[in-house]
């Protein structure tokens, strides 16, 4: 690389390899596929707050890469965000805005507001003109009340009482449209969200595995990881495979003992003279 190898990172993206990658692509080599979340994510506002839901399948093309990944990301103690789209983008964007919100909380000594997170997310995504492919459902409860927003990869946002995103969004939206009403109770809200995610899991190929639910109310947040497991594994054989020791042919073996590192104990601090 030109110049010094490791200048301390200024943050943001580094475009050093773009020219080389363009040259490789021109010589006929395919760009790698990124892991997508191929998801169903939903949110709805109920009487006392917001319920967010997501499935847990991460896909890499047609293969399931992760059967139980977490798509509901922490933003602030009272704000959570579900992410669909390219997995790395949703994780990076939510982590970044979560850190910015924490710094903001330290600076203002106040609980974060949902619109703050929303504005940070939409300006970042708009700056990259949709190339950061993250579609988010942002929900939380702050001093002004419960809020639910959707953020699209190009930076547009909607404020809605119920929302769905991801490849399974149509399946989930059909459940919401038929059964949503104002003033749902907590139990009804969780049930509706779980049913919507299940609709996505069973009808959309890009969504699957378990249902994660997050309930946010004033002063309390409950993250119900694996709230439902509608797809238990049915095919595991009870005996399983077992290979006798020495079954595999080995050409050479090298065993190295791990030495315990000497402990560095704190000495007395030097006297300040």
């Amino acid at each position: 690389m030109a110049g010094s190898m490791e200048i301390p990172a200024k943050g943001g993206f580094n475009f050093d390899l773009c020219r080389r990658n363009a040259m490789l692509e021109k010589n006929g080599l395919k760009m790698p596929g990124f892991r997508k979340t191929g998801t169903t994510i939903v949110g709805l506002v109920f009487r006392d707050g917001v319920v967010l839901g997501a499935d847990t399948r991460a896909t890499e093309g047609p293969i399931v890469a992760d059967k139980n990944c977490e798509k509901i990301h922490f933003m602030a103690p009272n704000i959570y965000c579900c992410g669909a789209g390219t997995a790395a983008d949703t994780e990076a964007v939510t982590d970044m805005v979560s850190s910015q919100l924490q710094l903001h909380r330290y600076a203002t000594s106040r609980e974060s507001r949902v619109v703050t997170a929303l504005t940070l997310l939409k300006t970042h995504l708009f700056n990259y003109q949709g190339h950061v492919s993250a579609a988010l459902v942002l929900g939380g409860v702050d001093v002004t009340g419960p809020h639910l927003h959707t953020v699209y990869p190009h930076g547009s946002t909607d404020t809605l009482p119920f929302a769905t995103m991801g490849s399974g969004s149509l399946a989930a939206m059909s459940v919401f449209e038929s059964r949503y009403k104002e003033g749902l109770t907590r139990g009804e809200g969780i049930q509706l969200v779980a049913d919507a995610i299940c609709a996505g899991i069973f009808n959309d190929l890009g969504s699957g595995s378990n249902v994660d639910v997050c309930v946010i109310t004033k002063g309390k947040t409950e993250y119900l990881r694996t709230h439902q497991e509608p797809n238990p594994r049915t095919y595991a054989s009870s005996k399983g495979f077992s290979f006798a020791k020495g079954h595999t042919e080995v050409l050479s073996t090298k065993i190295r003992q791990l030495k315990l590192k000497p402990e560095v104990t704190e000495g007395d601090a030097m006297e300040e003279e």
Partner: protein
């Protein structure tokens, strides 16, 4: 471009131990250039990284990671925990979001209290933590299938070695671009065992 050099890397968790294995072929598309190529690198005695994909990016990434880890060791006077290292790798890969390294890392290590930790990421740093096994490389589809059926939780180191070797060898047999032997590392809190496997050389 992941199919330029060919690779297969897999890691599995056992009882207080983990195993990481890779194939040993280095090819240029369909021609084999080396049969002793190293894909699993040590960062410190309890932390290993396996890099599949483009070989030159794998080696560059390894060198940059060792550099960063050495600086960390100097500043903090201790080794990096696997979870921290995984975040470091993820951040380095995401930095190149629009011009990525063509590499899929697998990170395996013993963390606090020697609890085994494995994770994999795609080439732009989307971390995927797993409790059982992780795979990457051109043979990944067969590896998913083999590991899914052969894996059992809480295996002892010897049984873990047999299982991961069988999964690796059977999967690379179904992939033209990887194979030519195998290299398996089994790490327990007290010792590290490296074994070179005999495989089909085709």
């Amino acid at each position: 471009i992941f199919e330029y050099n060919g690779s297969a890397v897999v890691a599995m968790v056992g009882k207080n131990c983990f195993a990481i294995a890779s194939d040993r072929r280095l090819g240029v598309q369909l021609q084999t250039v080396a049969t002793d190529f190293q894909r699993v690198f040590e960062i410190h005695p309890k932390l290993y990284i396996g890099l599949s994909g483009l070989a030159s990016d794998a080696q560059t990434l390894y060198q940059r990671l060792v550099f960063k880890h050495k600086l960390y060791q100097l500043r903090e006077e201790r080794d990096m925990k696997p979870e921290t290292f995984a975040s470091l790798v993820s951040a380095m890969l995401y930095e190149k979001r629009f011009g990525p390294y063509f590499c899929q890392p697998i990170i395996a290590g013993l963390g606090q209290d020697d609890v085994p930790f494995i994770c994999t990421m795609d080439c732009i740093g989307a971390k995927e933590l797993a409790k059982d096994f992780v795979v990457s490389g051109t043979a990944s589809e067969s590896l998913y299938g083999a590991c899914e059926s052969m894996y059992k939780p809480n295996m002892e180191p010897d049984e873990l070695f047999e299982t991961i070797s069988q999964a690796l060898l059977s999967s690379v047999d179904r992939d033209c671009l990887s194979g030519w032997g195998g290299y398996v590392l089994v790490v327990t809190p007290t010792e590290v065992t490296e074994r070179v496997l005999k495989g089909r050389m085709d």
